[in-house]
């Protein structure tokens, strides 16, 4: 089968890092990623099913891998070589119909019994056995050698990962469920009179939509670098949308803050950082109010940030990874169930801007890495016409 695979090669990882620093997405040409013809992954155990991906999205974390920007932290949590792709809508082999994959590989998928305390409480996002069980390490499908990934024509998924797609949702909508679930998980509980969403790529836009759907922010501010992102941010429910360089001044005005030097005296109640860079984290700390919350929804890496404001302003910083079980309206709900609702309600399928066949993976990655400047949001691989599917 055809697949876009990542190999464990230090020189190629280094090349990718250099290339990626020159131009986002360039790591696809020089790095550890390549289009290969490999055997389909085997079904690891009972309860596993073969899935034929239909659409598979290109995520920010995928781009980090391609460009060699991923943190060394992940090294023991992945297994090489692996096939990328964790935003997946596919066909279940047989008569299973269309499904969306919840990629986190928790205890159930790994055959760990009894499950760890986090998985037992429905929080597979916090699984304590990610590198154990009958699967090779891999925090998610798309980073695990044994499961394959969405950037291929065939992969395997455990029954705990499978969510049937209702007929009313088309493939574009279905492929947005996973990023939408990330956003839902990040924003639930992020209540405040003023909420700032920093960054308006896929995750940022989903976060805006999720805040509007599931929370009641007093004023929802969004920063977006590119005109098309700004349009989407408004459309999905941001009250005010500004360019990144305008954020500081907008927050000052919106929160009636004074200024002390370059710092604000007040700030927003919550920042949802969908970028995850040193610059964005610095911005988070500069614009959140004393005692406020910063939620890191975008995947960061190794960054250098002055934490003095965090200490002095007693800011709470929380990471937000993946999804699991949420408490919503006092009831436990699977994040993916809420994400399905969000995708449908907000029409997030509209964010799919471009589709590529696997053969053009370099173009696809380049497009995704420069999506904002090219007026795109979500770039996906379209595998519906691939041979040997």
């Amino acid at each position: 089968m055809k697949a876009v695979q990542v190999v464990d090669s230090l020189p190629r990882y280094g090349l990718a890092k250099v290339a990626g620093s020159l131009a986002p997405g360039l790591g696809a040409k020089l790095g550890a990623v390549s289009l290969v013809d490999i055997d389909e992954p085997l079904l690891p155990a009972p309860g596993w099913h073969r899935v034929r991906p239909r659409l598979s999205g290109i995520c920010g974390s995928d781009l980090s891998t391609v460009d060699g920007r991923s943190s060394p932290y992940f090294q023991p949590l992945v297994s090489f070589p692996f096939v990328l792709g964790h935003e997946i809508v596919g066909d279940l082999d047989g008569e299973g119909g269309r499904v969306v994959i919840e990629p986190v590989l928790g205890c159930a998928a790994r055959g760990v019994d009894p499950p760890c305390r986090e998985c037992a409480s429905g929080r597979s996002d916090n699984c304590e056995r990610t590198a154990f069980g009958h699967l090779k390490p891999g925090l998610q499908t798309g980073y695990c050698h044994d499961t394959g990934g969405g950037w291929s024509t065939s992969m395997v998924a455990h029954e705990s990962q499978i969510h049937p797609v209702p007929d009313r949702l088309d493939d574009d909508a279905a492929v947005m469920v996973e990023p939408a679930a990330c956003a839902v998980h990040g924003v639930l509980g992020a209540e405040g009179a003023t909420v700032l969403v920093l960054g308006a790529g896929t995750l940022g836009l989903c976060a805006i939509a999720a805040l509007r759907r599931f929370t009641t922010p007093g004023t929802l501010i969004a920063t977006a670098k590119h005109p098309e992102q700004r349009r989407w941010a408004r459309e999905l429910g941001a009250d005010v949308v500004v360019e990144p360089r305008e954020t500081h001044r907008l927050v000052r005005r919106a929160t009636r803050s004074l200024k002390v030097g370059a710092s604000l005296s007040g700030g927003v109640d919550v920042v949802i950082d969908c970028v995850g860079s040193a610059k964005s984290i610095e911005e988070d700390l500069a614009v959140v109010r004393p005692g406020g919350d910063v939620i890191l929804l975008g995947m960061p890496s190794t960054v250098t940030v002055d934490l003095t404001p965090l200490w002095h302003r007693q800011i709470r910083v929380r990471g937000s990874y993946a999804y699991g079980t949420e408490t919503f309206d006092g009831e436990p709900r699977r994040t993916f169930d809420l994400a399905f609702d969000l995708v449908e309600h907000a029409g997030l399928g509209r964010l799919v801007s471009a589709r590529y066949p696997l053969d053009r993976y370099r173009e696809a990655i380049d497009h995704a890495a420069n999506a904002g400047s090219r007026g795109a949001v979500k770039v996906v691989f379209d595998l519906r016409g691939e041979k040997r599917r």
Partner: protein
């Protein structure tokens, strides 16, 4: 004897026409048949301005006694004066304000008046710096008053020192500087640069609070000021007149107004005041040297050079007494210098905008100020009808950089980034954003304690252009930063030729074109 202003019809022999372009200049070849409206040459100034001032104080107009008779020991005297927004560029010393205030102070001293306070009537403008105050008042006055706290600057946010003196029949509150309003005599010293200045507008903008200012500084008022350079047809003036009369009933106001001739630029820039076909070899050489040097300079250096210019303008008249009687004479004097008869409107109006306007003295001409100068001030330099027809196009020439003075114009930056990115409609802007900016504690802090324009001032800049925005079918800025130009809802063009072609998309083929050749300032009397 100075020659009056006139309208030139461009023919094939007409040389390229000078356009101001921010800190620089451009020569543009206008199509044959275009009209160029030139200002009058400078009027002969008063031969002895100090004597004229003394005479005016002794022979007031309207229902007023001579100033000498109004002064007595033990009285409370406040002398308010126009701020650094006039004249433009700042005039070579001694400034009219210095001459007049020294004369008033001499009379006050002779009458034994001890309680005298000077108030810079800068309304919601930024506070003046010491250097600017010294320039306006002279060292002698400054040193006599400032060290003792007797030279103050009006603070429209100092609610302990504001007082409501009454209300007009239309319900407009007149909230005024308490010191001025509770004085036995308020002497107001004005420099009437353009027809818009002076009269009751002096006190009703310079000495009031935001609460009062908004009665006349609002979008509907501006849209119904056609033009605000023609006070009888200006709602802005109607409101200030109503409110000024309330103040005049509350305290005695002795208005002293002065006018200037249009000798705007010093000798090294003489070419700016000449008609192009009359340029001497020296004028051409100095144009070339100046234009090329300024083009070669970084913008900040060019700005510094140009803001160093002191204007040789001279006093042409001074009148004192009751506000309205004084202002009638003033207006006639302003018209004598500025009025230029023009027949008919054009499809396209072109204007070259200079480096300076009322709100960027010693500062940066940011994009909002470009809009204000072009669509506010220059567009409104008419009496009767606008120079451009309804639905016509205005073409401005200015670099229009996305650049702001962070100390002077902090709220402008936010307005430009946060308000104009949502809407450019003045009415919507006023409704949705004005109060929020006006009451922002940070802007208020900067206005009171730093050198910032009030938070709401940026809005007024946009409102100044409200009438033009309603009237014209398009605005094109030649040579401006495209991003900044588009942010304001206008179209950028690289060259005048491109701009004229773009304008044809709006007004049709073979349009009529009028160029406003200013500064020096003129007032087109359009019939």
């Amino acid at each position: 004897m100075s020659r009056p202003g006139f309208v030139l019809e461009v023919d094939r022999s007409t040389p390229p026409i000078l356009f101001h372009h921010g800190e620089g200049f451009r020569l543009e070849k206008l199509p044959t048949g275009s009209r160029v409206v030139y200002p009058a040459e400078p009027l002969t100034p008063l031969s002895d301005p100090d004597a004229a001032i003394r005479h005016a104080l002794e022979h007031p107009v309207g229902d007023s006694e001579p100033l000498r008779a109004l002064l007595r020991p033990g009285m409370k005297l406040t002398i308010a004066f126009d701020n650094e927004a006039v004249p433009l560029p700042p005039m070579t010393g001694p400034d009219n304000r210095q001459r007049v205030i020294e004369a008033v102070l001499e009379l006050a001293a002779a009458a034994g008046v001890d309680d005298v306070v000077l108030v810079a009537a800068h309304g919601l403008h930024r506070r003046a710096t010491e250097a600017e105050l010294r320039h306006m008042l002279g060292d002698r006055v400054y040193d006599a008053f400032a060290p003792h706290g007797l030279l103050t600057q009006h603070d429209a946010e100092d609610h302990d020192n504001l007082i409501v003196v009454g209300q007009t029949a239309e319900g407009e509150y007149v909230e005024v500087n308490k010191r001025a309003a509770t004085s036995d005599l308020l002497v107001y010293v004005n420099i009437n640069l353009v027809a818009m200045d002076g009269g009751h507008k002096s006190t009703m903008t310079g000495l009031v609070s935001y609460r009062s200012l908004k009665h006349h500084h609002n979008v509907v008022g501006m849209q119904h000021s056609r033009s605000f350079m023609d006070p009888p047809r200006s709602e802005l003036h109607n409101a200030t007149w109503r409110m000024g009369r309330v103040l005049a009933q509350h305290c005695q106001v002795f208005q002293i107004e002065t006018t200037l001739n249009s000798d705007t630029f010093p000798s090294q820039f003489a070419f700016l005041q000449k008609r192009e076909w009359e340029w001497s070899l020296r004028d051409r050489a100095s144009y070339l040297a100046t234009a090329k040097s300024l083009d070669a300079c970084p913008p900040a250096l060019a700005r510094k050079i140009m803001h160093g210019i002191k204007s040789p303008q001279k006093m042409t008249s001074v009148q004192a007494g009751e506000v309205e009687a004084v202002h009638r004479l003033t207006l006639a004097e302003v018209h004598r210098q500025h009025l230029v008869p023009v027949e008919g409107q054009a499809d396209i109006l072109t204007m070259g905008l200079p480096y300076i306007g009322p709100y960027n003295v010693n500062s940066i001409m940011n994009p909002l100020l470009v809009m204000c100068l072009g669509l506010g001030y220059f567009f409104n330099l008419y009496r009767g009808k606008p120079l451009v027809r309804q639905g016509g196009v205005v073409i401005l020439s200015h670099p229009t950089r996305w650049e702001f003075h962070p100390v002077h114009h902090p709220s402008y930056i936010d307005f430009f980034e946060q308000v104009l990115s949502e809407t450019t409609d003045p009415l919507e802007i006023e409704k949705k954003f004005e109060e929020d900016f006006a009451n922002d504690p940070w802007y208020i802090h900067l206005y009171r304690n730093s050198y910032a324009y009030h938070g709401v001032h940026a809005f007024y800049m946009w409102y100044w252009g409200a009438h033009a925005l309603q009237h014209v079918g398009g605005v094109i800025i030649v040579g401006g930063d495209p991003k900044a130009v588009r942010r304001m809802g206008f179209k950028p063009a690289s060259t005048m030729r491109d701009a004229l072609e773009m304008a044809e998309d709006v007004v049709g083929r073979d349009p009529s074109i009028t160029h406003l050749h200013a500064p020096p300032i003129l007032l087109a009397d359009v019939t």
